[in-house]
């Protein structure tokens, strides 16, 4: 096969299962791509070539009838998923060479399906930050435009999958951390329903809002991963027709104060779905403007409790922005934490009985503005930091508060050639529907197959 890293995850797995390409061959291609291009991108914290190569050789020796759904596919993950005997930095140099005692069950599932997890990817320190900045391991750069942010906190995932270092990756999403890197880097990301995927063996930030989720180059690839991470049925569902499905266009919040390029892009995406046979319906959405603050009242005290020893050590133990955000957790009273948790139940009920009863899924932009320059959003503390974070996460954080699943898929390029993306939102445990919609959109538009210029 001429260009191994251009084919999709599903194509690579199917070719490897059929013996048309070897797991070692795929891994060598992935390692070579990292060596060739990561100097300019900084998506990878470390590779694990010896263990990965041993796994690939063992996979190549397997008889055809024992080959799994992800046979031989090189994957790379946010550096917060534990693997026994290996380091997990959580994006912080302060953790040193501490080795993990056990492997995260999600990685065990991927291993069991034949995936070869070969690299640990860059991320915001302790997963706190939606931009891709990291003072310890360096800023991750957007493969489409190095001066722009990658999104975060799973910054390395969006960059590595877009740069064709890996066919897919596993990250976590507490306020948009899977969906934002996917949106900024022109790939596809899924935040599943809260609680669907195991958090065991995964760095904790907020046990109420943390949500593992995959990134890949297509919804079909994500569906294959979800068949392994959750249960079978996702890939079979993507082939289904979307004619007659009702796609809701919110009449408030998600359409307020949109950048003109984002608004035009959303309108064009809606027309694509209409042409594919979906019925577009305007829907009233409860006011989501308070959800960012309510989510803050939940995740920040939970995170501050985890990181209290580092806060007590004083400035320098944590990056400035992480310390500033954790301090907000110390400032939240237990009474407000409980009230926010109770309001969360009512908010979800309102969504289920309102907009998500009136349509099958909502269509919104992934972000209200085009991907910002890294220099625009690097403020470490204070009100400037809050404004920056709010502008980036305005359309992603509500889903973490609500626990709902969301899929982000590319919807074109802005006038500077940087990816734009839409987000599809559905009721709990409707991941298959989201992947079905994403797959049809991608097949029709091909935006998920756009490549960064350096790969041309």
């Amino acid at each position: 096969m001429s260009d191994l890293l251009e084919i999709t995850l599903c194509e690579a797995a199917d070719a490897a299962r059929a013996g048309q390409v070897g797991a070692v061959e795929l891994l060598e291609a992935a390692l070579a791509a990292v060596a060739r291009h990561d100097g300019g991108i900084n998506a990878v914290i470390a590779t694990e070539p010896e263990r990965a190569m041993a796994e690939a050789r063992a996979l190549d020796a397997l008889p055809a009838d024992r080959r799994g759904m992800l046979h031989g596919v090189p994957l790379a993950h946010k550096d917060m998923f534990h693997r026994a005997g290996e380091i997990s930095t959580y994006g912080s140099a302060t953790r040193g060479a501490r080795r993990m005692q056990a492997t995260a069950p999600l990685l065990t599932r991927l291993d069991g399906a034949g995936a070869v997890s070969f690299a640990r990817l860059n991320m915001a320190v302790f997963a706190m930050g939606p931009t891709g900045h990291n003072p310890d391991f360096g800023r991750c750069r957007n493969p489409f435009a190095p001066a722009r942010i990658t999104g975060g906190s799973s910054s390395g995932l969006g960059a590595a999958v877009a740069a064709r270092f890996a066919y897919g990756a596993l990250g976590s999403d507490t306020g948009g951390s899977v969906r934002l890197p996917a949106a900024c880097c022109g790939v596809v990301g899924l935040k599943p329903t809260q609680g669907l995927l195991s958090l065991e063996g995964v760095m904790g930030l907020s046990e109420s809002l943390d949500c593992p989720g995959p990134i890949a180059r297509s919804s079909r690839d994500l569906a294959r991963m979800m068949d392994v991470l959750d249960r079978p049925g996702h890939e079979a569902a993507v082939a289904q027709d979307i004619r007659g499905l009702r796609l809701g266009l919110p009449s408030s919040y998600y359409c307020d104060d949109l950048h003109p390029e984002v608004r035009d892009n959303l309108d064009r995406a809606a027309e694509v779905f209409r042409a594919l046979g979906a019925t577009l319906v305007p829907v009233a959405v409860p006011d989501h403007s308070a959800y960012a603050d309510l989510a803050d009242a939940i995740w920040k005290p939970e995170a501050a409790a985890l990181h209290l020893p580092a806060l007590q050590m004083g400035p320098g133990a944590l990056p400035e922005q992480a310390r500033a955000r954790l301090m907000q957790g110390l400032a939240t009273s237990a009474v407000d934490y409980v009230r926010a948790r109770r309001l969360r139940s009512l908010a979800l009920q309102d969504m289920l009985s309102g907009p998500l009863a009136a349509c099958d899924a909502l269509l919104v932009p992934a972000m209200p503005r085009p991907v910002p320059l890294a220099a625009e959003v690097e403020a470490g503390s204070g009100d400037a930091m809050r404004h920056n974070l709010a502008a980036i996460t305005a359309f992603t954080r509500p889903l973490n508060f609500l626990g709902l699943p969301g899929l982000v898929t590319p919807s074109g390029l802005d006038r500077d050639g940087v990816p734009l993306a839409i987000q599809l939102i559905a009721a709990p445990r409707q991941e298959r529907l989201l992947l079905q919609l994403g797959h049809r959109f991608e097949c029709e538009t091909g935006f998920n197959r756009l490549r960064p210029d350096f790969l041309a």
């Binding site: 329903t193 809260q194 609680g195 049925g233 403007s289 308070a290 960012a292 603050d293 309510l294 803050d296 009242a297 209290l308 806060l311 007590q312 004083g314 400035p315 310390r323 500033a324 301090m327 907000q328 110390l330 400032a331 939240t332 009273s333 407000d336 409980v338 009230r339 926010a340 948790r341 109770r342 309001l343 969360r344 139940s345 009512l346 979800l348 009920q349 289920l352 503390s381 204070g382 009100d383 809050r386 404004h387 709010a390 626990g403 009721a427 709990p428 445990r429 409707q430 991941e431 298959r432």
Partner: protein
């Protein structure tokens, strides 16, 4: 309510940065710089105001936190 609500200039906050710093040290064992104390105290007031605004007029007494997880189990295949 928005993510930018905070006490405006001219209003006298009921909590001063020095009081916020004393709270952080006494309750959490965290020493704050002068700048951090200002931020911490403003956030304490802003965050509490945001939750109070969202909860205003809402009957929360009969709502259980666990009902959220029950709702998440109610859909899908």
């Amino acid at each position: 309510m928005s993510g930018t609500d905070r006490p405006e200039g001219g209003a006298t906050p009921p909590l001063t940065p020095a009081m916020g710093a004393a709270y952080a040290l006494a309750v959490h064992g965290v020493v704050l710089s002068g700048t951090e104390a200002g931020w911490f105290t403003a956030e304490m007031l802003r965050g509490a105001g945001a939750v109070a605004c969202a909860a205003d007029g809402v009957a929360l007494a009969d709502v259980r936190m666990a009902s959220f997880d029950v709702l998440l189990q109610g859909e899908g295949a």
